[in-house]
Every structure is written in structure tokens, then in C-alpha cells.
Amino acid sequence: MKITRIFGFLAIILFCSSGFSAGAASDDNEFAEFEEDEFADSVVVTNAPDAKQEDRKSVPPIVQKDDFEDDDFGVVDEDESDDSEKIKEVDPDEPTPVQSLKFTDVPAHFRSNWASYQVEGIVVLIIFIYLINYIIGKTTNSSIAHTVFEMCRPTLEEQFAVVGDDGVTDLDKLEPTLKRDTDSTFSAWCSGRVNVHSLFLQMKTIKRQDLVSRVLDIYDPSSDKMTIKVSLEGGNDVDPLIFAVGEKKIATKNFREMFDLNSYVSEKKQVAQQLNLPATWQLYADQNEVVYSILEPGVVSLLRKHEEAIEFIHISDQYTGPKPAEGESYTRLPEPQRYMFMSLNLAKLGQDEESAAEILNLVFYLIDRVKKMKLSKDAKQKAERKRKEFEEAFLKQTHAFRQEAAQARKEEKTRERKQKLMDEHDPERQRRLEAKELKKEAKAKQPKMKQMKVK
């Protein structure tokens, strides 16, 4: 059945196409009567054999003239010559429609014309170079990070029960590995030590995998960095301290940005000179005693030895992160944490295993030192007083903000009530609302007087 239907369709299509061709044939036959005239004209016209086709198009007007002029035999020759002239005149005119036809420029095929695709070639080359650079940069970053991690791993394994935790794998099956965050950032999470909740080690290399970043790096060079963020175990037996030391630029930047550094500490230039710290470094602390108890001679000598590798050290018991952006402020003081932050230059750190081990051991020494540190009574009281004052000042400020907010809300409510009063059409309701409003205003004024009376 289906086959018969298909055959039926084909038959219809064939019939239609034959009908069109018949129509075309009949079109040809319509011009049959003019073909005789063309033969007659062709005897006269010898110059334009191609004009036959044009004749067919322009035959009707010329034929009409012929019809008129065939009756006048005397005129025929002249007319014929006129015709020939006319035909000759028309001939040069007739090709003009052909000449006015414009052939569109079809572009040559790509295979025969590939040399003209220059811009495309350049872009493809750029993309190719970019991808090659991506592969090379990614491998370089990975190798740098893993090399340094291999140097640090023995020390970390000595200090922590778990090194390189990903939060998912079972602890029994865990291998100390570096986690890849991006193609230029790697991290390792260590935990299970005295005095320490956790140690988060992060390596941020230059974006060697991105060609754009590499080009921008030429104008604003940066270096591979390693940051160590230690969450310290707190407790009431630990004395308060806020301390920061490091390379000038980085130390100043952190002093401006970090909330705790900005709120509590001041620069200790003289103490820095006394302790013989590197000249390019700056020292910040809330109290001198804190500096003296942390920066022992041994620590200072190590800091000087690895001056290029160590960029910044920040130890705090009031760590709350960076300051809020300008225009914003905390409504409530965030919960402070005991925290240690260290920023190291990866290239200098990774020069040899010995220096990497020394620097890491310095970190653990400082962790334990901070825990054991005992300030004098005065210093401790001073520190606690400072914190209390800061907290009170903060509450006062926020109290003022809160009061303003409450006042604004009250005004908004009275405005709404008055607006409701104005919009009320029912006079009875309006009177009632007005009375209510008057009562409220009277009440608002009254209590103050009452309080005074009670007093």
C-alpha cells in the first residue's frame, strides 16, 4: 500500500513536471508565428546573428510596426532599411540590458585561495601559541609546587598527624598530597598537633598558564608565594597579643587592611632598631613586651638569615579578617580568633631543603612560644583594658547607628499613619483616626515630664 502511494506521488510529480514542460513547449509554439518574420529579418540583417534571441523579446513592438508597414510596398524597402536601421539601433541598445547584468563575485574556494586567509591564520596561530603556553605553564607551576611540597613534607609529617587532608578520603588511606585548586594555586590541609587546630598551607604561583597574565606580569612583576594560615588553640591561660613583622610594603598593606592590626597596634620603630631587625622590615605590636618575648635573639637571627624568603608574619588573638569596605561597618563585632599567618617567597624557600626545613621549624617554634608566653601583670591588664575600651567604643558607635535606625523607623511609621489619615474618605473614621493621632502625640510628650516628676 505504501509503495503504491509512493508511486502515486511520483506519478503526480512527473505529470506536473511534464505539464510545465508542455507549457514551455507551448510558449515556444506561441512564438512560431514570429519565426517567419525572423527569417525575413534575418535576410536583411546580417550583422546580428545573436540578435535572434533579443528579437524574440523585442519582437512584439517591431512586429507591430512590420504589420503596419507591410501594406505600403513603396515604403517597405525604406521601412525595411529603417527596420534594419532600427534593428541596428536597437541592437546596440539591446545588449545593454545584458551589459547591465552584474555577475556576483563568488569568492574562490578556500583550497585554491588559502593564501588570502591571512588574518584567520594569524588568529589560529595566536590560539595555538596560547594553548602551548597553557600546557607549559601548567606543568611548570605544578612541578614548582610539588618540588617545594616534597621539601616541606618531612617536617610536616613530623609535626602533624594528618598532612594533605581533602576532607573526603578515610584517614587510614590518606596519603600526604598537595591539592590542586587552580592551575596556579595548590594547597594542603594539616591537622592533629598540640596547640594547633589546623594549618592551611597554600601555594600561589604566577599564572604562567595564561599568556595575558604573563604579559601583564612584565609590567607589574609578582613572585610565587606560599602562605601558611594556622588556627591556634585558644584558652584563658593564653595571654593576649597582636604582633606583625615583615617586609615594608607588605606589612604596611596589611596594617591598613587587617581589622585587628588597624584597631589595636602601632608601629614600633625603635624596638625594631634595638632588636636589629632588617632595615627593610617594619614592626607592629600592641605592646613592647609582646615583641621582646616573641622576637628572641635566636628568632631574630633566623629571620635575618632567611630575610628574602620570609615576607610577613602576623600573630593575633583578635583576628577577624580584613576591615569591612569603606562605607560599610559591622553591626556586631565578629568573633575573634587566635590566628597566625605567614607569607613566604616560594622561590627563595625552595632553594634547598635545609632552609625550607629551618623556616618551617621556626613556624612551629613560634606557635609553641606564643602558647607559653607570659606577659607581666601590667602588660596583661593593659592589653585587656585596651580590648574592653575598643569594644565599648564600638558598641557606642553602633548604639548611635541603632538609635538613628530606630528613629528613622518611628518617623516612617508616623508618616504612614498621617498619610492614612489624609487618604481616609469616611469622615467618622477620619475623626476617630485624628483623635488617635492626637492621643499618641500627647503620650509621646508626656512620659518625659512624668519621669522628671518621679525624680
Binding site: 569568492p107 584567520e120 609535626q159 587532608d165 591537622s191 587546630h197 612551629f364
Partner: protein, 113 residues
């Protein structure tokens, strides 16, 4: 400065917890907004290439997608990168299907003048 005794405490292990997704992503975006910018630029160039039929826009969209891919963070969705790549490739293909002629290099016009 040597440590005495084993400081390791297996009973005090705190497991690694990836930071809160949205807060971390916002922080990551503020730290390095390049992949987002390149993603948006790539989409704009793809649209220009498809609708206004500018071939160089389509090629630029492809370059922007590559840059965005190279700067991806692991927290980012891979689908977004793949879709921006597909969009830019389709913009290039459609531009050349409509008009296979090559882009006229600027140095040709300069040389002619």
C-alpha cells in the same frame, strides 16, 4: 629550637572542610575577576559575530573563551566554559558559512593607499 617529644595528636584532628560555597566564590571573584570578564566578553563578541556578521568578533570570542578556560577555578562550573567555547566556535562557523570570503587584512588597505 628543637621540639621535645612528639607534637602529633591524632585525637585532635580537624578534617578539612571546603569553605562555604557562595562566600568563597564571591571572595574568589573579588580576588580575581578575569575569568568572569572574559566569559562575558566572549558571549558579547559571539553575539556580535552571529548577528552583525563580523568575523573578527567571532575570532575574538574564541580567544576570550580560551583565556577564560586558562583562568578557571575548580569551584567554577565546567559547563559554563564548555558552553562559551561552543558558542564562540558556532559564531566562527556561522560567519564563514554565510560568507566564506577571508577577512581583509588592515595592512592590505594601508599598502593600497
Amino acid at each position: 629550637m628543637q621540639q621535645n617529644g612528639d607534637p602529633r595528636r591524632s585525637n585532635r584532628i580537624v578534617r578539612y572542610k571546603p569553605l562555604d560555597a557562595t562566600a568563597n566564590q564571591q571572595q574568589a571573584v573579588s580576588d580575581d575577576p578575569l575569568p568572569e570578564y572574559m566569559n562575558v566578553l566572549g558571549m558579547i563578541f559571539s553575539m556580535c559575530g552571529l548577528m552583525i556578521r563580523m568575523k573578527w568578533c567571532s575570532w575574538l570570542a574564541l580567544v576570550c573563551s580560551c583565556i577564560s578556560f586558562a583562568n578557571t577555578r575548580t569551584s567554577d562550573d565546567a559547563k559554563q566554559i564548555v558552553s562559551s567555547f561552543m558558542l564562540s566556535v558556532s559564531a566562527v562557523v556561522m560567519s564563514y558559512l554565510q560568507n566564506p570570503s577571508p577577512i581583509i587584512p588592515p595592512w592590505v588597505t594601508l599598502l593600497q593607499s
